[in-house]
């Protein structure tokens, strides 16, 4: 169990996350209650719900718990250092710290003792109020095994595993890789660009996901407690149960912030992506890296053409020598080239081929005229160059 950072209850500091943790323990811990005289007592929780606010019901619940388990048992050392020998009578004096839980105090220790075993390791993020059950070591191993079966660059995978382990060590959370959160081939990237509105501007070969050095991590299976103490057993990677709809609420945001803080910490060594893209971590800083230039470099090294890129909001545009060794010609965006829709025209191809042919010697056979079919064939060849780069993704470099 995570330790509370400050006191909770009557006269306590009552930090929200501390209060939530103590409340959650009281929600999950039951006591015998005599509802009807002469009828067997029934079990009921000390507190019916938790919310991170230390109101009167919480203070009363702490007192009730103390009455049952702290004051009434022998040889208890109170937080103030005095000894309670367990003699509780109707005339017993008012206990010191009644209604108060202090870090590692007698009441806190008794709470840990009495909470059901299934909830013996409850956690809450600092400043948050959502209490969750810590993941087990087996769950972490399952997540690491699942991540290891996906497609990543090996050194990057090691950082991902370090991140998963660090998140468990610090917060007891078992991160997992989101669906399609590993290496994404050029075709999938093009799908995402053209079919998923407002998600990305990156075309085929322009996302760090295309090179096995980016990951999307999430919180699938996080077992958090609803205010009533009910455990959510089927949370999805994006915490849609905790934060329904398409806007991240404050509680879910704390989890995403924790993920980003751990992932970008020095011990893990990853970098964040765009501000809003919270599941995303990558192997390098975006600052100073031109994804277009790096794709052009990979294309040039993977195939038989020379390439360059320049940025025209909102996309990179590419030029190539078409494998003819001459000047580079405009071809459009990565998505256009990928879809065999490069902006190459008949005139441009004619000029490029004429330049490549130079001045043929007198009497040499005249070259075959360039036709629209040649343009179509060249567009296919350009796509083939992208396919080669896609296959050769492990050779991509960030500089």
């Amino acid at each position: 169990m995570q330790l509370i950072s400050n006191s909770v209850g009557v006269g306590g500091v009552n930090n929200r996350s501390d209060v939530a943790l103590v409340q959650a323990i009281l929600v999950k811990t039951q006591r015998s209650v005599i509802r009807v005289p002469l009828i067997a007592p029934t079990l009921a929780p000390y507190l019916s719900s938790y919310d991170g606010v230390c109101g009167q019901p919480t203070k009363d619940a702490i007192r009730a718990f103390q009455d049952d388990h702290v004051w009434s048992t022998g040889n208890q050392t109170t937080p103030g250092g005095t000894t309670n020998w367990g003699f509780q009578t109707p005339l017993a004096p008012v206990r010191r710290n009644a209604g108060l839980v202090e870090p590692n105090g007698a009441t806190w220790l008794k709470l840990l003792e009495k909470v059901p075993a299934d909830f013996a390791d409850l956690r809450v993020l600092t400043g948050g109020k959502t209490v969750y059950v810590a993941a087990t070591a087996n769950q972490i191993q399952e997540r690491i095994a699942a991540a290891s079966a996906l497609t990543f660059e090996p050194a990057f995978l090691r950082k991902v595993v370090t991140c998963i382990n660090a998140m468990h060590t610090l917060y007891g959370i078992a991160l997992g890789v989101c669906p399609k959160g590993d290496r994404r081939d050029f075709g999938k990237q093009d799908d995402l660009l053209n079919q998923a509105e407002f998600v990305t501007n990156a075309g085929p070969g322009e996302s760090n996901h295309n090179f096995g050095m980016a990951v999307d991590l999430g919180f699938k299976g996080l077992r958090w407690l609803r205010p009533t103490g009910e455990v959510v057993e089927n949370e999805d990677p994006w915490m849609h149960k905790l934060s329904p709809g398409n806007v991240i609420n404050a509680e879910a945001l704390k989890f995403w912030q924790a993920l980003r803080a751990v992932g970008t910490s020095g011990s893990v060594g990853l970098f964040r992506g765009p501000e809003a893209d919270r599941p995303h971590l990558q192997n390098w800083s975006d600052a100073g890296v031109s994804m277009g230039a790096r794709l052009a470099d990979l294309l040039s090294r993977s195939g038989s053409m020379r390439w360059s890129a320049h940025y025209v909001e909102p996309h990179y545009r590419y030029r190539s020598d078409l494998g003819l060794g001459g000047e580079l010609v405009e071809l459009g965006t990565a998505s256009q080239i990928w879809n065999k829709q490069a902006t190459l025209t008949l005139d441009v191809l004619k000029r490029a081929r004429a330049a490549a042919a130079g001045n043929p010697p007198a009497g040499a056979a005249r070259p075959r005229p360039v036709t629209d079919a040649d343009v179509t064939a060249m567009k296919q060849q350009l796509r083939d160059q992208f396919d080669l780069a896609d296959t050769n993704w492990r050779s991509w470099t960030s500089n």
Binding site: P179, K180, D191, L192, N246, G273, P274, A276, D277, H280
Partner: protein, 163 residues
């Protein structure tokens, strides 16, 4: 005279539906794979898949078939007066979009359909087509029209996209 008989017949149907408790028995949703023409399993069923970046990949989908299962009395007669309405509302923003897109909720479908033939168990199904799905959460709400007091049923298609 014929008109009066038809009216009485329709009214009689209504009464019988009300008496038999026409209910929406459940919702199913199937992703349509645009690359293969195949449908997925029920994404609202038991152990549903996580709907991340659904428009990309081998099973790329940007359309969803929603099936409303309606339970009526056994051998209940068909009637044009009983219909099913499905309202599908897309939530505004994309939480993980690279641009941090914001926007309002948007109704992407508000359609009413008549019921088809009923099987021997008194069940019939009505299908609705949702286009341009896959990234934003969609709230489904199905209602029986023409039956006083019929309860509606709601489900969420928790689509999410991220760069």
């Amino acid at each position: 005279m014929v008109a009066i008989l038809l009216f009485l017949s329709a009214a009689s149907d209504l009464v019988s539906y009300a008496g038999q408790g026409v209910t929406i028995d459940g919702l199913q949703a199937l992703l349509f794979n645009s690359k293969t023409g195949a449908f997925s399993g029920d994404i609202l069923g038991k152990d549903p898949p996580d709907l991340g970046n659904v428009p990309a990949g081998e099973f790329a989908s940007v359309s969803t078939l929603v099936i409303v299962r309606v339970r009526m009395g056994k051998d209940a007669p068909a009637s044009k007066d009983v219909r099913v309405r499905l309202v599908a509302t897309e939530s505004g923003s994309l939480p993980f979009a690279a641009k941090g897109v914001s926007g309002r909720d948007r109704v992407i479908l508000d359609q009413t359909a008549v019921l088809g033939p009923v099987n021997p168990e008194g069940v019939t199904h009505v299908a609705f087509w949702l286009a341009r799905t896959g990234c934003r959460s969609v709230a489904l709400n199905a209602t029986i029209l023409g039956v006083p007091g019929a309860k509606s049923i709601g489900k969420i298609l928790a689509f999410t996209c991220y760069e």
